[in-house]
């Protein structure tokens, strides 16, 4: 395979990983706060905390990996996006910082504070919104090159229906992914009550997920026709995504095989995410930066690939251990004393 394809595949895969694990985390924060408002927190918070506490730092590293990796493989993106995204990027960063630290303060600190939980819950919705605009911007039309200088056009972004469609999809998917995972987790914990609450969350966010993704398609056809047509060529991926979605909903509805239903949700997003990614190729930033034009020197590129493989050899067993201890350990999940 060519270097640029290897590079972008690695990065896209990590971004997908981030999409899943971060969605679970973001959504959990929101549900946690929402349940506090609706006085159901005693039902679901135990489940949420047991899952989140050991893994939140891991989630953050997925994101760090992505932005370090993209600058490594495609250094030109640092120049274009770096210059253009100062303000939106800075704000996303601010939100991430607030979220991460307040999670720790609320959970490892001495007492639960409503303010901390509020900050933690609300940032969970704003972060995906602001991060997703990076994908929007990559479609072109929001960054302009005048001479040698790169300019960001915030007004165009704020008034674009496409941009808002993506934001909506991001938020809704976060809630859907999170709820369907937590339903499964509560089921494993044998916590019937929590499972019922979370199941209704999952079901109620499923409709909006599909509606908003249709909305994104429609808006994209207005915004970037070429990309839309590419996507059309990959229609089978998006159809498979839809099939997985329907399968997941049926299983959740019938309270059957909840583990598999979450696998289906992951596949639903995998098909859609990779379909989107493939049809986006070769552009990293339409129309200025492509994976070929931005690629680093090949020595560095291969050095990164090799270190990536070495890194995976280290990570996969460790992640496996983490999952075995916290995800697939029935005792831990149930919160039993050891």
């Amino acid at each position: 395979m060519q270097l640029e394809l290897i590079g972008i595949t690695i990065l896209w895969t990590f971004l997908y990983g981030y999409l899943i694990v971060a969605s679970i985390d973001f959504g959990a924060g929101f549900f946690s706060y929402y349940s506090l408002l609706t006085r159901q927190e005693h039902i679901i918070n135990g489940v949420i905390n047991r899952y989140l506490s050991p893994v939140w730092e891991v989630t953050n590293v997925f994101l760090v990996f992505f932005f370090v990796g993209i600058v490594g493989f495609f250094p030109d993106t640092a120049y274009y996006y770096g210059t253009a995204l100062l303000l939106p990027g800075g704000i996303a960063l601010l939100l991430l910082s607030i979220r991460g630290s307040f999670y720790a303060f609320a959970n490892y600190g001495a007492r639960k504070s409503r303010t901390y939980l509020f900050l933690y819950g609300m940032t969970g919705l704003f972060i995906p919104a602001s991060l997703s605009t990076v994908l929007t911007i990559s479609e072109g039309g929001f960054i302009e090159k005048r001479g040698e200088e790169v300019h960001f056009l915030p007004w165009e972004l704020l008034t674009s229906p496409y941009s808002w469609a993506v934001v909506l999809l991001a938020i809704v998917s976060v809630l859907f992914i999170s709820a369907s995972f937590l339903t499964y987790y509560a089921f494993k914990a044998g916590d019937k009550k929590a499972m019922e609450v979370l199941r209704t969350y999952a079901l109620s966010w499923s409709g909006p997920t599909i509606l908003s993704s249709l909305f994104v398609f429609a808006a994209l056809s207005q915004h970037n026709m070429q990309h839309f047509e590419n996507m059309f060529g990959l229609a089978w991926m998006f159809l498979l995504s839809l099939v997985c979605f329907l399968g997941a909903i049926i299983l959740i509805w019938r309270r059957r095989a909840l583990g598999w239903s979450f696998v289906l949700v992951m596949l639903q997003f995998a098909f859609a995410f990779y379909g989107y990614g493939i049809s986006h190729m070769p552009y990293l930033l339409y129309p200025y930066v492509t994976v070929q034009s931005a690629l680093t020197h090949s020595t560095m590129g291969w050095a990164l690939v090799i270190s990536f493989i070495a890194g995976l050899l280290l990570l996969i067993p460790s992640l496996f251990l983490l999952m075995r201890l916290f995800l697939f350990s029935a005792k831990y999940v149930r919160g039993e004393p050891k």
Partner: protein
């Protein structure tokens, strides 16, 4: 202010803040591991409790380390796009490897935290602390190589048009500055954390607590503290030798050493008058030649050899002096304490000794800050020495000021809240209470 100046302030502020938590992140796991290991070996629950309590505080500081680290990581692209574009070609390897180190650390930290009583044999739990140490120390190693590269870029050739060719990523990573810098950064992080943890125990003893728990904590951290303080001084000496050979202008600026000469004296303190003459300083004959080249007769390059616009600001002299003074102090106080202890003198627990240990903690953090500011400001006007100047690397975007304002607020808030959370965490749950709850007999 122009974007470049604002970017510098924001970068410096973020790093100066990150380094506090990062240092704790690098150093404290070692001590957690030592305490737990020693406790298991000696079957002494005091040490296990120590490891538990340190871990509990550690998570909070890690959280701040992680969020500020994420900030600086992304900010490098946002504030220094040209720098990252260039560096992306050359030095992204260690940055990339660093994320694996983070991953490794994050995974095992999660495991370590939530498996205290889950394994049948305590040794298994102790074993999971090793990857945390490896992960955090390696992340410091990798990031330090990046910083070292900025001081002594290597591993490439530059054509006349400014194109980079013939890249050798490993050589860029293990550039000439890397070995001494890594040694010094790691050892200084360890010594700082030894004093941090010792200071907490000293504080409690000074407050009149009598529990042996605190005495054991001080003994453990001071023994390792002395070792690390000596290592730090050795590594600092190596850094000085490195500078004399590869970055002479930085050493010369720090030492107010203007004329190239043999038998160069080391200048402590003092000030510069209008004629750039050193006044009121203590001069140690030959010492600079020894620090720089290891020989009293060696020649040390002076600052006047460099073009005026490539000389770093001269105030870094005080930072260097401060760091060295503190380094000396840390060695002295820990040695004094250990000698008294070894001679079985009651005086080891004298309040003045305890106070001396107590202020070692803020002083070592001050030394870390001074050392970094010296290292960074001493590189001015270069962002990558000899290749790219700072003003050519900064973003051209507006609004840096807004971000500077917002992030300053964030750091203030984080500092205040993290401290109060930590205080509350430990005050509500004193070691005596815990010892009793866990049924540990005194």
């Amino acid at each position: 202010m122009d974007p470049a100046t604002l970017s510098r302030i924001l970068t410096a502020e973020t790093l100066a803040f990150h380094i506090i938590w990062a240092t704790i992140g690098v150093g404290v796991p070692i001590f957690i591991c030592i305490a737990e290991g020693w406790g298991i070996y000696k079957k002494d629950p005091h040490y296990i409790l120590m490891a538990r309590r340190w871990t509990r505080g550690f998570v909070i500081t890690v959280a701040v380390g992680v969020v500020t680290g994420t900030s600086i990581g992304l900010m490098l692209s946002l504030l220094w796009p040209q720098f990252m574009q260039l560096v992306g070609h050359l030095i992204s390897l260690p940055l990339f490897l660093e994320t694996f180190a983070f991953f490794f650390e994050a995974i095992f930290l999660g495991i370590y935290l939530y498996t205290w009583d889950r394994f049948k044999k305590p040794v298994y739990h102790w074993l999971t602390s090793i990857p945390i140490i490896i992960g955090s120390s390696l992340s410091a190693v990798f990031i330090t190589t990046v910083n070292a590269f900025m001081n002594t870029p290597a591993g490439f050739e530059m054509t006349k048009e400014g194109e980079l060719t013939n890249l050798r990523p490993l050589e860029a990573m293990f550039n000439p500055a890397a070995p001494s810098k890594i040694a010094h950064v790691l050892s200084s992080a360890y010594v700082t954390c030894a004093f941090l943890l010792a200071a907490i125990a000293a504080y409690h003893l000074l407050k009149g607590k009598r529990n042996v728990y605190f005495k054991k904590a001080i003994k453990l951290t001071m023994v390792s503290g002395l070792v690390m303080a000596l290592l730090t001084a050795v590594a600092g000496d190596l850094s000085g030798k490195f500078l004399a050979e590869h970055v002479p202008e930085k050493l010369a600026a720090a030492e107010w050493h203007f004329e190239t000469q043999k038998e160069a004296p080391l200048i402590l303190g003092g000030y510069l008058d209008e004629n750039q003459e050193v006044q009121g300083a203590i001069k140690i004959p030959f010492a600079l030649s020894i620090l720089g080249k290891g020989h009293p007769n060696a020649e040390i390059t002076g600052l006047n050899e460099f073009p005026e616009d490539e000389r770093p600001p001269l105030y870094i002299h005080y930072l260097f002096d401060g760091m060295v003074a503190i380094g000396t102090y840390l060695i002295l106080i820990s040695a004094l304490f250990l000698i008294l202890l070894w001679r079985k003198k009651k005086a080891a627990w004298n309040p003045w000794i305890l106070r001396g240990i107590l202020i070692g903690a803020p002083l070592s953090f001050a030394a870390i800050e001074m050392g970094w500011i010296y290292a960074e400001v001493g590189r001015q006007p270069w962002i990558i020495r000899g290749i790219m100047k700072v003003e050519h690397a900064a973003t051209t975007a507006d609004h840096v000021g807004v971000l500077l304002f917002l992030f300053s607020l964030l750091y203030i808030a984080l500092a205040v809240i993290a401290t109060s959370v930590l205080i509350r965490l430990f005050r509500n749950n004193s070691p005596e209470q815990e010892l009793e709850e866990r049924g540990i007999i005194l």
